[in-house]
């Protein structure tokens, strides 16, 4: 719908290169072994990077513990080892590379190079959904990121790569063992190439075995292929000439942009000027209208659906849900009238995009091609057969509604997070004129009372739930009508697979064995403080993380030695009162160090016991 490149584009491009190479194998088996070795190394290097991405949760799982992992987890580790072995064999030959810009003469080498480029571009596409995170990990940059890191998508990815690896292995081996006299290369070179291809075959076979144990559903492969580039579609404003299909595209693109902006807004620092009441109000007002437009569109679609059709009832149910979402956004808008922030007046990208989405969905919902947010009086809704003349036109309209509802849901969560963060920093204010008379404050505004912030957060919570219900109702219609947006539902389902159970790491953790991988991946108090101060320099953040880890170790060691932990000692009371200490201890608990957890949790439990009776 948005003509964004997807991961499937690059995967298919790599597959086509290998297919072409395979089709010309009868003539391609004559070639330069050195050239093919070097090109194969490029392919293996990219595959190895994919495998590292898939197996990073197990980096620090002790070898003795790997039997506790599930079949897929073990297979991914074995596959990574197979790729490492293949790469080592190919590197030992130390073949000189061609001059830069000079394509290899051997047909197979050229196709392998092209496949490597496509695979590398595909991995780059996946990486656009992540940013470098604390402690060498990665953090999400889009709503697709949780799905990309999910077990179902990881398994689908490994399955696809395994197929490609076996294809490459067969082609490389054919050259390595080819008896044709025209093949150039020493016996040693051919032997190394052949052995490397065997390891590639092992990679494929290992993953295939896991797949037999737990097959990858077709839907997961489809989801993998549908992962888009995390890039903003260009901002467009309707000019009044767009047909319905163009309006659907425009609404979908605008929804994507708003989601992107919402994602960025939700992770803003406490001091960010991007958190302004003006933006929050604009989002709430625009989203009230977008919800209303979705309700109108769903009722219009229901009106063009035969009364007996099952979809009609579903459309009407979704329209009712959209009506409730609209009411919930109106409650948010009204609640926001009661507060302000220390930086009013700033209109964030999320607010601008939310308004644009209201405009696009309004143009789609109303008959007038000139409709705008300032059009004033009522406009009649678009006629049912104008909105979707044929049944084949329905999926695009449903997709536009689905994307809009997904965006509205994410906007509620993103804005709630902004308010929570701003409230923690004391940035939510109230006009003192709005406070009861017993507040005698000599300033025009004051920090919002806790109750008012809680009430505001509660209204957002309710709006989030109402919008999620609408989105789910529309998702069912998207599934039933095969709308292109149904991938949103699949991505959310994949992301819901337990995030800690990435290919089985949970089994190791629940066994009580120490797993200190990057699973918790939470910044510690020092690193958090640096980030809140806006520090982005990776060396400084790394140093902060090191200090945090040293703190964890010190606390663990101190707890292990029973220092200052006996009840009633002054040291403990001080520790209990200190928020900074709480942050340190929480971080030590999150580190996954089983000894620290056992000792600190045990201590916490002891503290919650009733006090001993005085003798």
């Amino acid at each position: 719908v948005t003509s964004q490149p997807t991961f499937g584009d690059f995967l298919q491009a790599a597959g086509r290169q290998l297919d072409t190479a395979g089709a010309s194998m009868t003539t391609a088996a004559n070639g330069d072994v050195d050239e093919v070795t070097q090109s194969l190394l490029r392919v293996v290097t990219v595959l190895d990077r994919y495998a590292r991405d898939a197996t990073f949760p197990f980096d620090e799982v002790a070898a003795a513990d790997t039997p506790l992992l599930n079949a897929w987890a073990r297979a991914s580790l074995d596959a990574r080892q197979a790729l490492a072995n293949a790469a080592a064999l190919l590197r030992t030959r130390g073949v000189p590379g061609p001059q830069p810009g000079t394509p290899p003469a051997t047909t197979l080498a050229r196709h392998l190079d092209s496949a490597a480029v496509s695979l590398a571009a595909g991995r780059d596409l996946l990486q656009t959904h992540f940013a470098p995170g604390p402690r060498g990990g990665r953090q999400s940059r889009s709503d697709w990121a949780p799905a990309i890191g999910s077990p179902p998508v990881t398994r689908a990815l490994l399955s696809e790569l395994a197929s490609l690896a076996q294809q490459v292995a067969a082609q490389g081996a054919a050259l390595a063992w080819s008896p044709l006299p025209r093949t150039r290369g020493t016996r040693e070179d051919r032997r190394s190439l052949g052995a490397a291809c065997q390891w590639l075959d092992v990679f494929g076979a290992t993953i295939q075995a896991a797949q037999q144990d737990e097959p990858t559903p077709d839907g997961d492969r489809e989801l993998l292929h549908a992962i888009p580039l995390n890039a903003l579609p260009p901002r467009r404003v309707p000019d009044g000439s767009e047909p319905v299909a163009g309006l659907c595209d425009g609404a979908t693109g605008s929804a994507l942009r708003a989601r992107h902006a919402a994602w960025d807004a939700a992770v803003q620092a406490t001091w960010s000027p991007g958190t302004s009441v003006t933006s929050l109000r604009r989002v709430a007002a625009a989203s009230t209208l977008t919800s209303y437009h979705c309700e109108v569109l769903l009722r219009t679609l229901a009106a063009r659906t035969p009364e007996a059709a099952e979809n009609r009832a579903a459309l009407l149910r979704a329209a009712d849900a959209a009506g409730r979402a609209r009411a919930s956004w109106l409650s948010v808008a009204n609640a926001l009238k009661q507060v302000t922030t220390d930086t009013p007046g700033y209109v964030s990208p999320a607010a601008a995009e939310a308004s644009n989405l209201a405009l696009w969905t309004g143009r789609l919902a109303y008959a007038s091609p000139e409709w705008t947010l300032v059009s004033g009086p009522a406009h009649p809704a678009r006629a049912p057969h104008d909105l979707a003349p044929g049944t084949e036109d329905i999926p695009a309209v449903v997709a536009a509604i689905h994307h809009s509802c997904e965006t509205l849901t994410q906007l509620t969560w993103a804005d709630r997070e902004q308010i929570r963060t701003a409230a923690r920093a004391g940035r939510i204010l109230v006009p003192t004129r709005s406070l009861p008379d017993n507040y005698d404050i000599p300033h025009p505004y004051a920090h919002a009372p806790l109750g008012r912030v809680d009430s505001l957060l509660g209204v957002y919570e309710a709006a989030g739930a109402a919008n999620a219900r609408t989105r789910d109702a529309v998702a069912d219609i998207a599934e039933a009508t095969c709308a292109p947006s149904r991938m949103l539902t699949a991505a959310r389902a994949a992301a819901r697979a337990r995030p800690d159970d990435r290919l089985g790491v949970e089994r190791v953790r629940s066994s009580g064995l120490p797993v200190q991988g990057k699973v918790p991946d939470l910044p510690g108090p020092v690193e958090s403080t640096l980030r809140e101060l806006g520090v982005t320099a990776s060396d400084l953040l790394r140093r902060g993380a090191k200090i945090d880890r040293a703190g964890e170790r010190l606390i663990s060691a101190a707890v292990g030695e029973g220092q200052s932990l006996r009840r009633g000692q002054p040291g403990e009371q001080t520790r209990q009162r200190s928020a900074a200490t709480a942050a340190l201890i929480n971080h030590a608990l999150a580190s996954g160090d089983s000894r620290a957890i056992a000792l600190l949790r045990g201590q916490t439990q002891r503290q919650s016991e009733p006090p001993e009776r005085e003798p």
């Binding site: 604009r282 808008a333 009238k337 059009s375 000599p442 025009p444």
Partner: protein, 143 residues
Amino acid sequence: VNRIVSAEKRLREASDLPAVLDAAYNAFEDMLAVFGAYEDPADGTFAAFVMSAASAADGRDAILFAPSLPPHRLGGPPALEDEAQPGVSAYQAARALAGLARLLAARLEQAARSAPDAPDRAACAEAWRDARCIHVLLTGAEP
């Protein structure tokens, strides 16, 4: 809509900067109450009212940051009328609100030019933009 009439009266009668700021602040608050009373999607004014309410709240907050705004409301507490007035349609309310927005914009523009201190001028200018925006949303035309 009686609130609108009262708000217009106060705005017209305000003579000095604190009185204009106080009247403008209260006028935005009065508008918010009326917008809230007529937020019905069945009305053709729904979209304009929802968007205008956000601007009214922004305008009120802009005035809040004006140093010359009196710390307490002049002329006693506001009337507690926040329901749609019987017999007054949303369109009639919209016309009344647009009239108030036009007057508000005019007084704020004047104050933004004549206020001696820069922070007051900036606050008035920002609030003027919001009043103007409300008029555009309600009528489709500049005040």
